[in-house]
Amino acid sequence: MLKIENLQASIGEKQILKGINLEVKPGEVHAIMGPNGSGKSTLASVLAGREDYDVTGGSVLFEGKDLLELAPEERAAEGIFLAFQYPVEIPGVSTTNFLKTALNEIRKYQGQEPLDAVSFLKRMKEKMKLVNIDQSLLSRSLNEGFSGGEKKRNEVFQMAMLEPRLGILDETDSGLDIDALRIVAEGVNTLRDGERSFIVVTHYQRLLDYIVPDFVHVLYKGRIVKSGTKELALELEEKGYDWIKAEVDALV
C-alpha cells in the first residue's frame, strides 16, 4: 500500500528527514515513536503534502502511484488522511459544511456522484456515534475555541467520515482524557477492516493498549533507528529512549 524509500526532506537549509524506509501493507497498523523533534510530524506532513518541506531525495509510492507528484487534495482523494497534531482553527466554516465539501470533492475525484443530503446526514449520525461527538460542536466554526480534546476527537470524526485507505494519526492521543482516549481508540479500531491501514504517531504505550500495532518504529534524528513489534513499545515505556540514543550516537 505505502512504500517509503530513503525519504529525505528539509526545511530551508535544515535537513529533518535523513533517509526514511517504511513499508505499510493493507490492514497493518504501524506505530511511530521517538523523542521530541525527531521528525515524526515532519514525516506525517510530507506524506500529506505540506509544501513547507522540500523533498530532497527518495521516493514514496502509494497504491503504486508516485505520491510526491500529487497535490495534497489529490493525496486525500487517493485515500490518505492526516489527523493533525495541532488541528487548525478555521473561523466561519462549520465542520458540517466543510465535510460535505470535502467528501463531495473526493467523490468527484473518484468519479462518483455527490452524496445526497439524506445519505450525508445518515453518515454523519453514524460516525458521530462512533466517536461520541456532539452535534452542537459540529455546527460551530471548525475547531474554533474547541478544547484540545475536542479538536482531536473532531480529527478522528473527520477520518471516519472520509473513510481513507491510510490514516495517519499524529499524537491524536495527547490532550484526550482517559474516557475520550478509549472512545477514540475504539473508533479507530472499528475502522480497522483488514484493508485500511494506519500510521499512529504517539509518545505513549497507553494508546497502543487499545490500538494494538503490528509494528513499532523508533524515529530519531530523522531516521528509523529501531523497528519491532508491540513489545518494543513496552520496552520503551519502561526504559525510555536513552539506550537507543546511545546505540545510535555510538555509531556516528
Partner: protein, 438 residues
C-alpha cells in the same frame, strides 16, 4: 484641440444657471444654505494628496475628466434586468442618474408609518422639517465634496419615520448611473429622519450600466431621535470606470441604536466616509464594512465615531480582501470627548492580501480626552492563512476552492449583519462568484 473644461468652473456655472430658474425658491432658507455650500466649495476647491484626508486617494483622474453634469434619464424595465436582486421585496425606489423613476418603483409602507418621498417633494411638503435637519450634520465647512453635494442638493430620497413606528418593510434605494451614452456625473442627497422610538432599515444600492465613466457624489444624512433604531446598508457594485465619493452621516440622540454596513463588491475609484456623532447618551453603534477590490480598483473607507456624550458604545469591524493590483485605504477615527466618560469603543480592521501586488493602507486614529473609558483598536494586513488552506486541502478540497471557502468565511462576519435577506443572499452569491473567479 479643445481645451479641457475645468470641472470646478463647470459646476459653479451650472449652479448659477440653475439659480436663475428657481424664481421665488431662491430666497428660501434651503437655497441660502445651498449658496453657502457653494461658496465653501469655491473656496475649498478639490483636494489634492497634500490634504491629510486625501493622502492615499488622489482625485486627479476624477476631476480631469469631462462629465455631463445634467445627464438625462431614459431607461426601461428591460434595461434593468441585469441589475435585478432576486426576491427583493419592500419599498424599492429607482433613481436613474439621480432622477426618481416612479414607474419603476414600489412604495408599500403606509404614509402614517413612514413617509417616503423624493428630496424635492419632501421639502415641498415639509419645509420646516427639512430645514431643521438638512445640512445640520454632514459638515461642509472643510470637505469640498460635501459642500458641492449640499450646493446641488435636489436628487435623492426623503424618509421620515413617524414617532414610535416600527417599519418592518425595508426601504431600498437603487441608484443607477446610466453611462451608456456619455460620461455622467450625479449628485445625490438623502435625508432620513427617524423619530423617537421608531425603527427602520434603509439600504442604498449603487450600480452602473454602460461603458462610459460615471461620478457619483452622494451624501446621506440621518437623524435618530431618542431610542430610535436605524439599520443602514450601503452596497456598491459599480463599473471599473465608476468614481464614487460618498458620505454617510448619522446623528444619534439618547439611546439610539444604529447598524451601518458598507459592502463594496466593485467600483473603479471609491471613497466612503461614514461619520457617526453621538449627540446623546447610552447610544449603541455598530459599523461594519467589507471590500473586495480586484484589477486596479481603489477603495477608501474613512470612518469617524465621535463620542461626544457619556455612556455610549461603538463597535467597528472592517474587512478587506485585496486582489490583483488593487489599492485600499482604511482610516478609522475615534474621538472620545472630555465629557464622554464610560465610553466603550472598539475598532478592528482586518485585511487579506490575496495578491503580492495589492496594497492596503490602514490608519487607526484614536483621540481620547476622557479618562474613564474602554477603547481598543487593531489592524492586521496579511496573507491568506496557509495553515488553514493546507488543512482544507488535506481533506480533499482543491486549493482554489479552499481559498474561496476561506475568503467567504472571512467575509461572512460582515455580510451576516445585513438583515434584509434578499440583499444578504445576493451578496453571498456575488462574493462567492467573485472570490471563485479572481
Amino acid at each position: 484641440m479643445t481645451t479641457p473644461i475645468d470641472f470646478k468652473a463647470q459646476l459653479i456655472a451650472e449652479f448659477q444657471l440653475n439659480e436663475t430658474r428657481l424664481n421665488g425658491e431662491s430666497r428660501s432658507s434651503l437655497h441660502q444654505r445651498r449658496r453657502l455650500a457653494l461658496s465653501r466649495f469655491e473656496q475649498l476647491g478639490f483636494p489634492t494628496i497634500r490634504h491629510e484626508e486625501w493622502k492615499y486617494s488622489n482625485v486627479k483622474n476624477l476631476v480631469s475628466q469631462e462629465f455631463n453634469i445634467t445627464p438625462s434619464a431614459e431607461i426601461s424595465h428591460e434595461d434593468l434586468t441585469s441589475l435585478e436582486i432576486p426576491n427583493l421585496a419592500g419599498n424599492i425606489l429607482y433613481f436613474i442618474n439621480g432622477q426618481y423613476q416612479p414607474q419603476l418603483s414600489t412604495i408599500v409602507s403606509p404614509a402614517d408609518e413612514v413617509e417616503i418621498l423624493t428630496f424635492t417633494e419632501g421639502y415641498k411638503k415639509y419645509p420646516a422639517l427639512v430645514e431643521e435637519h438638512f445640512a445640520q450634520y454632514a459638515d461642509d465647512s472643510n470637505d469640498a465634496f460635501t459642500a458641492l453635494n449640499t450646493a446641488f442638493a435636489q436628487y435623492g430620497a426623503f424618509i421620515h419615520v413617524t414617532k414610535g413606528k416600527i417599519v418592518e418593510t425595508p426601504i431600498i434605494l437603487r441608484f443607477i448611473s446610466d453611462a451608456r451614452a456619455e460620461n455622467v456625473a450625479v449628485q445625490l442627497r438623502n435625508l432620513v429622519i427617524v423619530e423617537e422610538r421608531a425603527s427602520v432599515k434603509v439600504a442604498e444600492s449603487f450600480r452602473t450600466i454602460g461603458d462610459f465613466s460615471s461620478f457619483t457624489n452622494t451624501v446621506t444624512e440621518a437623524f435618530l431621535g431618542n431610542e430610535a433604531n436605524y439599520d443602514h446598508y450601503k452596497v456598491q457594485d459599480e463599473s471599473e470606470k465608476a468614481f464614487h465619493i460618498g458620505t454617510t452621516q448619522v446623528h444619534h440622540s439618547d439611546k439610539a441604536l444604529s447598524y451601518d454596513t458598507t459592502v463594496t463588491l466593485n467600483g473603479g475609484w471609491i471613497r466612503n466616509n461614514l461619520n457617526l456623532v453621538m449627540g446623546g447618551e447610552h447610544v449603541e453603534a455598530h459599523l461594519t464594512g467589507l471590500y473586495l477590490p480586484n484589477g486596479k480598483q481603489h477603495i477608501d473607507n474613512h470612518t469617524l465615531v465621535d463620542h461626544a456624550m457619556p455612556n455610549s458604545y461603538s463597535n467597528e469591524l472592517y474587512k478587506g480582501i485585496m486582489f490583483d493590483k488593487s489599492t485600499g485605504v482604511f482610516n478609522g477615527k475615534i474621538f472620545v470627548r472630555e465629557d464622554a466618560q464610560k465610553t466603550n469603543a472598539y475598532q478592528s480592521c482586518k485585511n487579506v492580501l490575496a495578491s503580492p501586488d495589492a496594497t492596503m493602507n490602514t490608519k487607526p486614529q484614536l483621540e481620547i480626552y476622557a479618562d474613564d473609558v474602554k477603547c481598543s483598536h487593531g489592524t492586521t494586513t496579511g496573507q491568506m492563512d496557509e495553515e488553514a488552506l493546507f488543512y482544507l486541502q488535506s481533506r480533499g478540497i482543491p486549493k482554489d476552492k479552499g481559498r474561496a471557502l476561506l475568503m467567504l468565511a472571512f467575509a461572512e462576519d460582515v455580510v451576516e449583519k445585513i438583515k434584509i435577506p434578499a440583499i444578504r443572499e445576493y451578496l453571498e452569491s456575488a462574493i462567492a462568484k467573485k472570490v471563485g473567479e479572481v
